[in-house]
Amino acid sequence: MTIGVVMLVHTAFDRAEQVIRHWVSGGCPVVVHVDKNVSTTVYDSFVTAVADLPEVQFSKRHRCEWGTWGLVAATQSASEKLLANFPDVRHVYLASGSCMPLRPIAELKRYLDERPRTDFIESATTADVPWTVGGLDEERFTLRFPFSWKKNRYLFDRYVEFQRRIRFRRRIPAGLVPHMGSQWWCLTRQTLSAILQDPDRPMFDRYFKKVWIPDESYFQTLSRLYSQKIESRSLTLSKFDFQGKPHIFYDDHLQLLRRSDCFVARKIWPRANMLYDTFLGPNSSAGTMAEPNPGKIDRIFARAVERRLRGRQGLYMQSRFPNEFWDSRFTSAPYSVFEGFTELFEDFEPWLARATGARVHGHIYAKEAVEFEGRQTTFTGALSSSPVLRDYHPQMFLRNLVWNTRGERQCFQFGPGDNQAVSWDLAKDPNAQISVISGAWAIPLFQSNRNFADLRTEAADLQKIESDHLEALRSIYAKSRVRIWTMAEFIESPMELLQTVIDEIGIRDARRLTEAPRLVELKGFGQFLQNLKNQGMHPYLMGDFPVESAPDNRRQSPRKPYLVR
């Protein structure tokens, strides 16, 4: 008893010949089908090339186009010839010219000898298979497909639409339950001959001629009628990507293929010399009867498809440029924005760095320069501190900063004195954690020694800018995690509020803050605000500060109750 091989070939004839010789040397007769689209001269020279092998025969040629009946017709003719001319054959293995046996043929033989009644054919009902291309699963069997998908996509699509509109449905022949699966199978003589010699075959053939991609459903469906035991998996390792075309194996997949313990793999790049030399070379069998285990290869290809379809979030580069309406993630990782904190606390940046272990920058959108941590002139990824370069594309600047520092939390300061170009982007970015002490911009004005008229104008400007920004943060489009306190609210219980913000950053394990940042001296701030009001400019974002008694923080800090807990 032996295995017979039906081989479909349409290109790379030198490799096909090599594989044929390998099968034959393993004692397997081969019937070859060559696509009718191949020119006669090429065909003839191929036939002469293998003329020295009596176990190799050629079957009637059909025109094979992807997704059409030709492939099934080719398989039928070749199988009939194989079954008729080689009575020894018990299992028939359907392979292509770019399939390659990975394990010695003897091992495959032994494997099948131990399972003499089993048909290896992937065969699942349409409801259960996710790998259909073009959104057609059940409709493959109920619509007609006279137009080529490859060559005439427009008519193909229009005709499908038309049939849907008029609710056209073909009748599935009685007794058939449509099944689909990998085109590459290994069937027993009993099952295969039952399919080919069925008295109803003309009726089935007529039906399947109009089904889309019949090579993935003809044998898969009919074998369900006759098989005694179906093992619904293919012995051929063959992975498809999201376009429905097979992944290709190259020399660098050698170890992966070796360890997969699969019997046959598809599709091999014709110029992968190392693969052909290794697997078709002199027998190098380990002699183990391991079960095929394609898990690792599956994962690699699944990751590749994932990369193509979903990509790396927050990465903007030459071949990934998501439209903002289709991909709301602006950046690649969570980061924190602090507004008003450096104004209210004297040593906020170093304190925050100590408390969280995160990378803490100053105002990276400051008008004069990008205030990177330590005020460096360049930062990760060779980002420049030049404000002109940053403002040339403020969005890309932030994306770059977050992308370049993957694995490390970024914190930076922001305020109404900065370039506001990213105001809305920050608000809409789910990765942003934004904490605002509103009105804190008034503190530097209060501390400065400038003419009051100038201060008044600037205060009015800053208040307007911050109020616009807060509007963005509070809008219904905002997806960031926002906390806004007025300055008056915040200095009521600064440590408690800082604690919540820092817990959320969650870098260090949750522990209480033991050290407080130093609040600036606010004595007289209330009077300063009152003076602005007296000049007709009403500062409201900082909340209510009584004129006479500015809260004196230094007296407050020692009595923080939560420190004692």
Binding site: I248, V305, R310, G381, A382, V388
Partner: protein, 316 residues
């Protein structure tokens, strides 16, 4: 079309071109010192024929190329600028010889890197692109530079320039979408950082589409930055996925640049009156060092992939 009149054939070996050959098109001026490594690099990748336009070199490069068995060579004395920076000449040659071939258009100082280029020849890439029905492949220009000043280590003829220019900027690129031709417009890197920090708009474009399954209906619009028909410029995904892409390692920043900058400023044959070279010439005088402590040292394509400068897409 007129531009073909400007080309004079020096040696025509195009009859050696077979149907499946990958062709390299290149135009150069006084690059003799780089040519040996350029040819070696692309021959090793599996390129079978080079079609080169010599823009009036006088350094012996022409004679050297004429002796190479896989080079076809044309000569022109005409203006590089008026030929839209060489595009017209190459468009003509591509129309004539590139139809239905995969064509790679690179300068002698550009080294093409693609996913798996250390284990798979370039034909593996083009076969895969064919199977995926993709006709154009993007590769961003990545400026490489040495550490410690551009002219500290002299470049020897035939040497791998990456032995000297080993460093690059990993993440300071800006991207705009060009609504007219739909291509992305990428700027940044050391040139923007050093020479254009006060006028980034003028910084050189780094987006390139150098590898195209050519058809005589196609044409490059401005250098290899964009093509017509516009669909060929869509080498990026807009739905969040990543298409496969490569990198052109740009090894211009060697000691040979100072000489070149002086010459090009005098010729004014480059984009925008050679603004770029003018800026170099100005800055080169003070011996600038593009290297900074955040510069990244080049290892291989996988590193570029991880940094997000290029992508494997769904090629595995």
């Amino acid at each position: 079309m007129r531009k073909r009149m400007e080309l004079r054939s020096i040696i025509d070996r195009t009859h050696h071109i077979r149907r499946s050959d990958l062709l390299v098109f290149s135009t150069f001026r006084n690059e003799n010192v780089r040519l040996p490594y350029f040819l070696k690099y692309y021959r090793d990748l599996g390129v079978s024929h080079f079609l080169m336009v010599d823009n009036d070199s006088d350094d012996g490069g022409t004679e050297y190329l004429a002796e190479q068995p896989d080079v076809s060579l044309w000569h022109t004395r005409h203006s590089y600028k008026r030929a839209r920076f060489g595009v017209d000449w190459l468009n003509y040659l591509q129309m004539r010889y590139g139809d239905e071939h995969w064509c790679l258009v690179v300068d002698p100082d550009e080294l093409f890197v693609y996913p798996f280029c250390d284990t798979r020849p370039i034909t593996a890439l083009t076969d895969w692109l064919d199977a995926s029905s993709i006709r154009s492949f993007g590769a961003m220009l990545l400026d490489m530079y040495p550490k410690g000043g551009i002219d500290t280590v002299p470049y020897r003829r035939g040497q791998n320039p990456l032995e000297i220019a080993t460093w690059f900027d990993a993440g300071n690129y800006s991207i705009h979408r060009n609504p007219e031709y739909l291509n992305l417009w990428i700027q940044g890197g050391p040139r923007a950082r050093l020479f254009f920090s006060d006028d980034p708009f003028r910084a050189p474009a780094l987006n390139k589409i150098p590898l195209v399954k050519w058809s005589k209906r196609y044409t490059y619009v401005s250098s290899t930055h964009s093509l017509l028909p516009r669909g060929l410029n869509l080498v990026y995904d807009e739905w969040g996925g990543e298409k496969a892409s490569g990198i052109l390692l740009h090894t211009k920043f060697l000691d040979t640049l100072a000489l070149k900058a002086a010459e090009e400023v005098a010729r004014k044959q480059h984009y925008a009156e050679g603004q770029e070279y003018l800026a170099y010439a100005k800055r080169l005088a003070d011996g600038p060092d593009p290297w900074c402590k955040w510069s990244e040292k080049y290892i291989n394509w996988r590193q570029l992939e991880i940094l997000g400068l290029m992508s494997k897409g769904n090629w595995a």
